[in-house]
Assembly symmetry: C2
Homo-oligomer: 573 residues x 2
């Protein structure tokens, strides 16, 4: 007969408190709720519940299972991945509790299941579950567990789908962002503009969060700015430009000077005057004639609204013949009032060429009119950018300071899914491994320890997994590192530094035994630091060198012993 799990508190309930914190089964929880309120214990596959019921029926639901969450192949043809999503997993587990309404729904879906099973679910929380994990933002590699989740097998099984969901896309898009950052270089500003093309609302919101972790400076997504404190950026669209017919539409033409000392009563005219003046600058001669007046009106109107942050989209009509001259006229008018314009955005055409020509135009104005630093005007580029176009632009030469990247970044166009899996590696202290014809799909059994070994130059040399109880590799001591499956692949390593990769982030009821969740900024710093630490040939876009993931000699022997003995007769493949 199924054994009932101990009841922590008769009046099991979740109480809302300030900041999304809550009380579960009478135990106070200091961890915020999942960012997306749709993340509930029902956000899982039905089969997790049917398995839980089968375990429960067999009296096996409290068997102690250990599961590894890992991936098998780095995305985007690269040789590294950035791990993300841990914070959301821990929030999920901390608040794991079925509402009565959810229980009733489950009952309606599984009408043949005994009522006592639902009583078990009613009492279920994750106070018997333990999560060890690599720190979020870390550079990680195939086969090494990102998280190890252990506890009563039925409960842990229910976590599989939400954990994989929360880690898969998070790690994928963080990795994608980091790849964009590496190609763009540290000196460029990177803006995430993906909300409109993202896969659903929190496809957009998570993209903003994880792109920031992966190295983006700011986002256009206001909701993400509010939720995570990510800097917000944005100017105006083509529709704004074409919504103006001509400057007469601007009713309020007044603008006070930056220091408040005087007021310009016709800012439109001031801009027009500058337009005529720059037309006469000899070095700009012939570049433009009459500029588009609806565009001039839109720019003027925008400058009146944002004199301190004037940034104009210059490609609605013609960048060099209309957009840039119109922008400069308005920027010079602002300059008269003591304001410094921010710059332009290019959203179409040959971005390398247009950025260089725009730069020349700005520099000509600086030189001819003696307006200091006008030549350094910020040039932002957008329009279907991705890692490849950033790379091509760089090789070609350009004058872009800031890139706005959307679709390709947030949908991970190059590879829209990371294949994270969640595999049973031990049950009731007995190791389990999944066999497969495909060696890359064989899982590594047992509770393990994982270390990163660093070489003399400070770069990580390889990761090694050991049996849980083996002593840790020691600095200066030679250790044999073996490929987990291929006998001939082995190397002796003398590490100059040894880093234990996993920490405990959830330990049932105990707040003491678990590591605090870092802030978004701390995670971003971890990511940045770890990317910097890697040997550049692992990180490069073209033909990167694979980073080695190994097992200790003991673990190797154990895997192969199991492989021979666990595989049923006639089934060893």
């Amino acid at each position: 007969m199924p054994i009932k799990v101990p009841i922590v508190d008769d009046s099991a309930k979740i109480t809302d408190e300030e900041g999304g914190r809550s009380e579960i089964n009478g135990r106070r929880c200091s961890i915020p709720r999942p960012t997306n309120p749709m993340v509930s214990p029902l956000l899982t596959d039905l089969y997790q519940f049917s398995m839980a019921y089968a375990y429960w029926k067999a009296g096996k639901h409290l068997d102690y299972g250990v599961f590894d969450l890992f991936f098998r192949k780095n995305p985007f043809g690269g040789e590294y991945t950035v791990f993300a999503g841990l914070d959301e997993c821990i929030r999920f587990i901390a608040h794991f509790k079925f509402s009565e309404e959810e229980i009733l729904f489950l009952q309606s879906v599984m009408p043949s299941c005994e009522g006592a099973f639902f009583d078990y679910l009613r009492e279920l929380d994750c106070s018997d579950v333990k999560v060890n994990a690599i720190s979020e933002g870390s550079v990680v590699f195939p086969k090494v567990p990102l998280l190890t989740v252990e506890g009563p097998v039925a409960a842990v099984q229910l976590l599989e789908t939400p954990f994989v969901n929360l880690v898969n896309y998070a790690s994928l898009v963080t990795t994608n962002a980091s790849r964009h950052r590496i190609v763009a270089g540290k000196s460029k500003i990177l803006l995430e503009f993906g909300l409109r093309r993202a896969q659903g609302p929190d496809g957009g919101i998570s993209a903003s969060k994880y792109c920031h972790i992966g190295g983006f400076d700011a986002t256009s997504n206001v909701a993400a700015g509010r939720l995570f404190g990510i800097p917000l950026r944005g100017t105006h669209s083509h529709a704004f430009v074409s919504s103006y017919m001509n400057p007469d539409e601007i009713l309020n033409k007044t603008l006070q000077s930056s220091d408040g000392s005087f007021t310009c009563h016709d800012f439109v005219r001031l801009g027009h005057d500058w337009l005529s003046k720059i037309q006469k600058i000899s070095s700009l001669n012939g570049i433009f004639g009459e500029t588009n007046q609806s565009e001039f009106a839109a720019f003027t109107s925008y400058a009146l609204a944002f004199p301190k942050n004037f940034l104009a989209l210059v490609d609605t009509y013609d960048v060099m013949r209309s957009g840039v001259p119109n922008f400069c006229a308005v920027a010079l008018a602002l300059n008269d009032l003591g304001y410094k314009a921010t710059g332009i955005r290019l959203d179409s055409g040959d971005l390398a060429y247009l950025s260089i020509e725009s730069r020349k135009f700005f520099q000509a104005i600086e030189k001819e009119l003696g307006i200091s630093s006008f030549g350094k005007m910020m040039i932002t580029a957008s329009n279907d950018l991705n890692e490849d176009t950033l790379d091509a632009l760089k090789k070609q030469g350009h004058e872009v300071d800031c890139f706005g990247i959307g679709t390709h970044l947030v949908t991970c166009y190059g590879q829209p899914a990371l294949g994270c899996v969640f595999k049973l590696v031990e049950i009731n202290n007995k190791p389990r491994m999944k066999l497969s014809e495909d060696v890359s799909k064989v899982s590594i059994p047992c509770r393990k320890q994982c270390y990163r070994l660093y070489g003399i130059e400070g770069y990580p040399l390889l990761d090694i997994m050991t049996m849980k109880d083996e002593p840790a590799p020691k600095v200066g001591e030679r250790i044999l590192c073996r490929h987990p499956f291929i006998e001939s692949k082995r190397a002796h390593v003398v590490p100059q530094r040894v880093k234990k990769l996993m920490d405990c982030y959830w330990h049932g009821n105990s707040e003491q035994l678990r590591k605090e969740l870092p802030s978004l900024k701390e995670t971003r710093d971890v990511c940045n630091e770890q990317l910097d630490q890697m040997r550049p040939d692992h990180m490069r876009k073209l033909n990167p060198t694979p980073y080695k993931v190994s097992v200790s000699a003991s673990l190797y022997d154990f895997i192969h012993f199991l492989w021979l003995n666990e595989a049923p007769v006639g089934e060893l493949r």
Copy 2:
């Protein structure tokens, strides 16, 4: 000076009522809230707010703008798209209202903006906005507006990002699902198994919803089942199988017969007996020897839990040498007690071959043991399936009845984004069009009417856009249909049926003037019916025939008049 919009109610607030309905500015709203609670008016790009401020500063925010939401190219190399996301857009607009906390956040982000602007936002709702749209689930084509949104330009501009976000992925994944359905054929059961690989939690939840609209029968996603009433399906995983060591672990071996007339006290032994018996069936001779006992234990345990729905994953060890014989033994034991097993799931290997071999095995049992319809046992296949593999399986021949599809379906691996755009087509009754060097990027100006013209065989012939005030095309009357940009492309059509494509789904405060939102089932029916109606050559996977989208002669002339006259001198490209 900015004009204040009329205040509907001084005590502007949103009150929660039953079923997610609410009161906005004292007006009761019969439309449910957006499914994802993260969908708020802040779920937009910052530049929508900077533009709104610039409009407001210029006193232009109440100018009447008309925007079209459309896409330029069908996804997945196909020649059609299914429109979805409308329901969520209308929910969004119906509940569009800033909370005080959101206002304060915006103020902190835009500190240079005047306080009165935030008072304007405080009062803002969509009671002056109108949305015309094609019905959700419709088959649609490039350039034709899916939605036309009109109203005060600043307010409508704020809707751009959320609308595009809500339509883009919804339409993409519905289209993807419909393509899978077309390739699989109507007789197959299609299950969506994508939650774990989806782009975030509601990447998963929306995928389940829209895949159901696009033709999938059920999902594994319990949260989506609850939210939308989609049928749920699921069995067990490899971890379940490998969590069992041997049948002795099963503590409760008792199973009552289906009719309750007797009880089997050792169901494990009954299964074992059957295993020995089928081993002796001559036509199965040599297929298998000793089967895996951990797998046998898992199957038995699962059958004890779900005697009425016994479906086993048979590929953990070896499909033909262990999984299928183990399954049959347990299924035959169930049969003794009056239960009919459901079937098997294959999750690796050569699905065509394994399904055919499994079918033969089942048929041999039916024949040799006289168990009626045992040969018809349902075979489900999963493992990285997509449109191409479904197609290949079909060409090759297989015995699969049901497909479980995940990663490729929900992330839209083949093309993870649809390029929906939102373009200003009219302001204060003046037409606007976006010019571009690339003709495919030129937008079609003006408020328009859209019709689908049907031919004598009942198939749609083409879509035609006309000027708002033109008379509708008439059945039996010849009408000239022109390519919007290419002069030589034109055709005379005599429609046998004319369907107006757009209806009003939101009309400010008026509940009377708008069409009711259909239920999910109704939308699913629309989709199914419209897919059936299309001429097959538009829908086929290989080299589909493009469907024609045209404009009336008057609209054609008007576009080209504008193109010549609106483009600033020297800028016509």
